[in-house]
Every structure is written in structure tokens, then in C-alpha cells.
Amino acid sequence: MTIGQGVHRADGRSKVTGHALYVDDLQPPGCLYGATVRSPHAHAEVLSITRDPDFDWTDITLVTAADIPGRNCVFLMTEDQPALAAERVLHVEEPVALVAAPSRERAALAAKHVVVEYRELTPLFDAGSAEGNDSVIFAPDNVFKRIRIDKGDPSQVSAGRVIEGTYTTGLHEQLYIECQGMLAMPRDDGGLTITGSLQCPYYITKAIGKLLGPDYEAPGRINVVQACTGGGFGGKEEYPSMVAAHAALLALATGKPVKLIYKRDEDLRATTKRHPCAIRIRTRVDDAGHLLSFECDMVVDGGAYNTLTPVVLSRAVIHATGPYRCKHVRIDGRAVATNTPPNGAFRGFGAPQAHFAAERHMDRIARELCMDPVVLRRRNLLVDGDLSATGQEMLDVGAAQVLDAALAAAESEPPALPDLPGGGLGVTRQLRGRGVSLVFHGCGFTGNGEAALKGKVALELVDGQVRILTGSTDIGQGTRTVFPQIVAQELDLSLDQVLVVEPDTAQVPDSGPTVASRTAMVVGGVCQQAAKKLADALALEVGRDAPFAELLAERTSDMPLRVEHVYADDGSLTWDPDTYQGDAYPTYGWNCNVVDLTVDLETGAVLYQRLVTATDIGRALNPVLASGQIEGGALQGLGWATQEEVVLDDARRMRNDRLTNYIIPTSLDAPELHTVLVEIPYEGGPFGAKGLGEIPLDGPAAAVAQAIEQAAGAVLDALPMTPERVLEALP
């Protein structure tokens, strides 16, 4: 029995002893170091790129767009983003040239001596006026994606009272502790191996196949290996393709291994962040607080290139109502282009923004109706059989259960705050408050996404061990531990008989990207099905049916026995991507946050005392890993709520590009986290598991806002709720 056990991480020993190898720990002989020359302008023509004649270039290689052997694009959903800007830069910090040098210091120095002449153009920064603007960033009208959801007809509802509000959220940085990094090594056979810090190895093979020219387009010419990865949170979903493209171009140009490792300041300024969002909600509610109609207008700022923005918008609009029932819904979402660094994947992927707005709007309704916010939520929350905004019949709904579980766990007194340095000597006025938020999160890809993706896993029986071959990566969340638990459970083996092979695209199949709360639930499910196939294959080989371990002991062949399984749904889900009606996700996770905090009326600072979360994750495959992931996501949510603010200069470059001034929570900022796991099984997931990676970040910020309001009467509808903003909002 391994499922449900908090077994040690498979990679735990190597991590606690410092032996785990991250990309910057790899030091191949003769390795060169890369550096990136970036635009200082938000919008400009590139007139020329030349070498400073006073600098010694003898040991330096310079690469510009003109040196790209193939197509100048880092392919993702579209082909709009170049690897190196050729004629025009569309955002500050956009890469325009690369250098390679024998040392990091020489590379950094050489990058400063690349002379780029620009002609500045007027930038477009305001997402609100981007659509149809004369300055075209993304053809034809600066709109990456429009989505409209219609259910019923809100215009026909005239009963109840109208309650309206506008909610905004700002940029948010993933802040993985290991910066972006890639190592590109030319292979003896003329191919190229790229090793790095990444979530999605197959994104990279697809992104750079055409970039390197026809020599590298054939299968197997490029292989991508995931090094031990020091956190991702979405930040290592798509941006690593850019870093890999650059490292690869330099490796090709020099014929040598090239390592490209970002420093923290460059990583903060240049890489993707959570999309800023402006959301207007207009509802009609009856006197008892029931939602009669729900209308929502949402503008998402995608930055200068498309990246994954359409999908972020998709998740945002689907979650726009929060976990509540409403018959008449209209949601209008637009993701637009601005001359700012592209925004991209970050844990939650649009849902945290949508939930902050929806939950704050529920608080507004409660305020206007003089109702308890929890009572209001209870009256509206989804139950089994209700229809969501996309018309999906909701099943395995855990909304009420997580609300009950969190409130019950929060009944005990929260721990007292330690005395503050300086003490305050009793004159500091501090008020305590409690806030509650309720969220849901679709697990896996939207609609037909999984069926279209066809994630594949292979299992091999070699030397009495089952080897799992998967493109799903472990970025700290525990893939390398949970997949063996699933397979060992299915085959009734001990855990030491199952292992995950190093993710190398030369060996492992494409299981789909490691994103979207899909790895344990969807790819874990594929592992389970593959294990069943392996059992059948072994029985066939041995010639009789018996427990797997017994047949394994009898097996005499030393040939590997290999099976593959590809994801296939049962056809019960229907989804219309044009009308956004149907089964948006195979199932949903549910989560409630109860935060206790203190607002300092002198400084506006918010001090967290305790955060209780209750999360329905279907089945806790490994409760230690599951609760650990929930706790980490929850603290990212608390950081987003009050501490983490990206400050921009006139070119929309991040000014606070250091850990000294982009403040993530420390162990002192973090409250005690009380984590309750609720298990309402989903029969489509392995042993009932639902996805859980993202949902913990969706709700804390709204709970904090409600608690601040309860404590001090300050109503905040914009994130982050920094001390300055809290002070300003105090009545």
C-alpha cells in the first residue's frame, strides 16, 4: 500500500545532502558563458548593431538576428515572438543580441560593448486603450483573444438590486529561487543537447526546431534534458524556450558548450509574470443575497507577445463567477497587447485574478445587504447537479465540505503574534480580523485539451524494476515520487521496484506539459493505465495470470518489456470552443481559506496570524507532498495579497529587480499554516485524485482583503494591498 502514504521524496536524499545537480552545477570542459543584450526602450526601431571598436573581441562571439540559421521565432501558440529582435523591439528588455565568452565576467562585459542604435517609437502601455489602437503590436487590432460566455440572458433580469464593482490585480513574479538557466552542448553526431531548468521539455524541442535551420529539424537532432529544477510555478513553462533558443544559437555559432544563466536582476526584469487584470462585475441579487444575474467584463494585459495569454484568458473567464450558481451569466473577456514585457504562465493561470474579483464582489454584496459574507456564500455555492457558467453539470462538488472543514478547523484560537521589534509599548493600535474565501479550480486542460494533446507514458520492465518514462517533470511538486506510488500501488509492488527515468526527450515520450494541475491527475492516470497494460503484457509473456510481483519473480527473459499508454477520454465530455459552453474541465478542486490577521493602524502593515485552508483534492496520493504544495501555494497567495509589488519605470521596466526590494514572504512573514485535506474522489483520476497544484494560490488574497475590511473597515479592491494602500483605505 503506497497510495495515501507520506513516503519520502524519491529525490529527497540528494536534495538534503546537496548532491542534486541543477543546471549551473554542471561544468562541462571548455564551456563558454553566454550573456544577452537587451533593449532599453519599450518600442523602437533597431537601426544597427555593431561592436565597440575599443573593446577586445578576440575571445568573444556575437550573435544577432542576422546569424539565425532558420526562422527567427520561438514558437509556442503563434510565431510572433522572435528569438532576437531584428527590426523593431516591442518591449523593454527584449533580446537583441547574444555574446559568448570564456567566463561569465567577460560575457557580461562584452554585452555592454555591443552598440545598438535605436530610433524610439511611441509606446502603448495602457491595456484599456490597446484594442484597435493605431499603434499595432499584435495584428490586426492588438487583441490576442476575445472570449464571450453567454448563459441565459442577464438583460432579461429586472428583479433584485444592481450591485457593481471594479477589481484590479497587478503583476506578480513567480520568484523561483533558482534563476532561469540553460546549457547547450553540441553532440558528437552533429546534434545538440539542451539541459536546463524547465517544466516542459517538449515545448523546447518544438520551439527551436525551426530556429536552428533544416539541419536540426529532423527528429532526434535536438534532445532536451531537465536538470534538477529549482522551482517553476509556471515561470519555467514557456520562458525556458527563449533561454534555450539563445544558448543553442551560441552553441551553434561557437561549436562549444554554452551555459546561459540569468542573474536575479535580469531574471526579474526580462521574464514573464502574472497578467495584470481589470475586472468589472455587475450583478443583480435578491434580498436574501441570491445571485440573479452576473455580468463581467475583463481586460487582461498580455504584454508585447502572445505567449500563452489566450489560454490564461480562457481560464480566467471560466472561473469568473467563482464557485457560485447563477442562471443568467454574461462574461466578456479580452486579452490585449501592450509594449510591456510579455506576461505568461504563473500558478493559477488567470484563475487567481478572476477569483479575487469574484470574492471581493461577494463581499461587496454582503456589505450592501448587511449580510454575513459566509452566509451569503453558503446561499450561492455550487452543489452537485448545478450548472456552471459554461453549462457544465457540476459533479463531485466539494464547495460546502471545504467551507465547513475550514471553519471547523479555524474554531480554535489562532496563535498570538510575537511582540514586534520596538514593542510599541502598548501604544500601537492593532486590530484583529478574520476573512474567508471560497474558490474552485478546473483540473487539467480546458475542454477537449487533453483528448487533443494525447499525453503518453511508457513503462519498461528492466532487471526486475519498472521504469516510468514520462515527459512530466518534477519541479519540486513530487512527480518522481507520486508516479512510482501510483504504479507500485496498481501492480502491488514495493516502491523500490519502481523508478522514474531522467526526463530526456531522447528517451521519454511527450506526456504533455507539466502545467495546469494535470500531472498527478491526468498523467498519473495514464501511468495507472500503462501499469495495467504492463501487467497484461507480463502475464502474456510468462503464460499465466498471477499477481504481478509473483510473475516478476518468475520472469527469466532479460529483454526489456515495454508498454505505452496514451491518454484517451471516455467521450463523456463535450465542449464547444466557439461558444464556450459545455464541460470546461473534467473535474474541479475546491478550496476554502480562513485567515486571521492583525492590521496595524499606524503603519498599515498586515501581520498574518494563521491561515487555515481546506482543499478537496479528490484523494491525497501522498499527503505530505500534497499539503506541502498547498502550503507553498497559499503563502504565494498571501505574498501577492500584501507584499509583492512590481514597480515599473517609464519604459515599463521592473525597477525593484532584486530580492532586497521585491519582497516575498520570509518565515517571519508567514503565519502558521493549518492544512486540511478533503477527499471527494473523482473517478477519472488515479485512485480518485484531482489536481491540486494551482488552487492554493487562488483564494488567499480575497480572504485577506475581507479580513482587513472586517478588522479596520478598509475596503480594498486592488492588489497588492501594501501598507500604503491599507492606510489610504482606512476610514
Binding site: S14, T17, G231
Partner: protein, 154 residues
């Protein structure tokens, strides 16, 4: 500049440029890569090592200060037989390592707390570890692990 010091119980000699950082001496010159760089300015603590038993950010320490010193990195904490240090074992048992990039710094810092001895509360531990950043765990399991090792009061 020629440096001689003790690293993880072994005498070592190394050549380093005058302005070199201890972190680079360890990682680049000596190939001892367990200590990580997260920020390069002493904010994240991923590069923490013990110098004469005190945890310091090796990105802020000039390599020259290693001369004659006793330095222990994450690689030097476990026993010669591979037995884990109590802090390492507690991190494993409590699931306190996720992505693992901050783990060496936390383990080294917590090992110093253990050597200091004395009575600890969870609030004390939170304060003592506030110089190390983690983005995966929310610190809960790290505090749990260290509290167990230090036999802390709740």
C-alpha cells in the same frame, strides 16, 4: 592569491583572484556545488555555509576570508558512512525539501542552531531562519522539521 583552509574536514589549497567571492571559490574553483546562488546579495541564504560554525552567506564573503578557516558546506554535514545529519533527516521526514534549491542553505543554518543548543520556540525558529527564502513550502514543514530537531516548544 593562494588560500589554504579546511573544507568539510579536509585540508584544501586553492588559488583565487583577490576580489573572488567565497561562493565562486567553492562552486567554480573547487567544484563543490551544493551551495546555491539565488540572489548574489545576501537576501536569500541559498549560499549559506558554516565558517567556524557560524552560518554566513558565501556570496557576501570574500574568498580571502577562507584562509585558515574551518568551512563546512552542505556536503560536509552527513557522516562519513553516509548517515544523514539530524537536520537532513528531519527535512526528509517532514517533506521540508521540495524543489530543493534553498535546502542546502536552510539545512546549514539549522545545523548551526542545533549546535548552539538552548531552548527554542517556533517563533524563535521563524526568526532565526528569516534570512533564508523558500518559495515552495510556505515554511510550515521547514519549521516543523527544525522544531523537531531543536525539541522546540509550541
Amino acid at each position: 592569491m593562494k588560500l589554504a583552509f579546511t573544507l568539510n574536514g579536509q585540508p584544501v589549497e586553492a588559488e583565487a583572484p583577490p576580489a573572488a567571492r567565497l561562493l565562486d571559490l567553492l562552486r567554480e574553483t573547487l567544484g563543490v556545488t551544493g551551495s546555491k546562488e539565488g540572489c548574489g546579495e545576501g537576501e536569500c541564504g541559498a549560499c549559506s555555509v558554516l565558517i567556524e560554525g557560524r552560518s554566513v552567506c558565501s556570496c557576501l564573503v570574500p574568498a580571502a576570508q577562507a584562509h585558515g578557516a574551518d568551512i563546512v558546506t552542505i556536503e560536509g554535514l552527513h557522516g562519513p558512512d553516509g548517515a544523514l545529519h539530524p537536520v537532513q533527516q528531519a527535512f526528509l521526514d517532514h517533506g521540508a525539501a521540495q524543489c530543493g534549491i534553498c535546502t542546502p542553505g536552510f539545512v546549514v543554518t539549522a545545523a548551526e542552531l542545533m549546535d548552539r543548543g538552548g531552548k527554542w520556540t517556533r517563533a524563535d525558529i521563524r526568526e532565526a531562519l528569516a534570512g533564508n527564502l523558500c518559495r515552495c513550502t510556505g515554511y510550515q514543514k521547514i519549521i516543523d522539521a527544525v522544531a523537531e530537531v531543536l525539541d522546540a516548544e509550541r
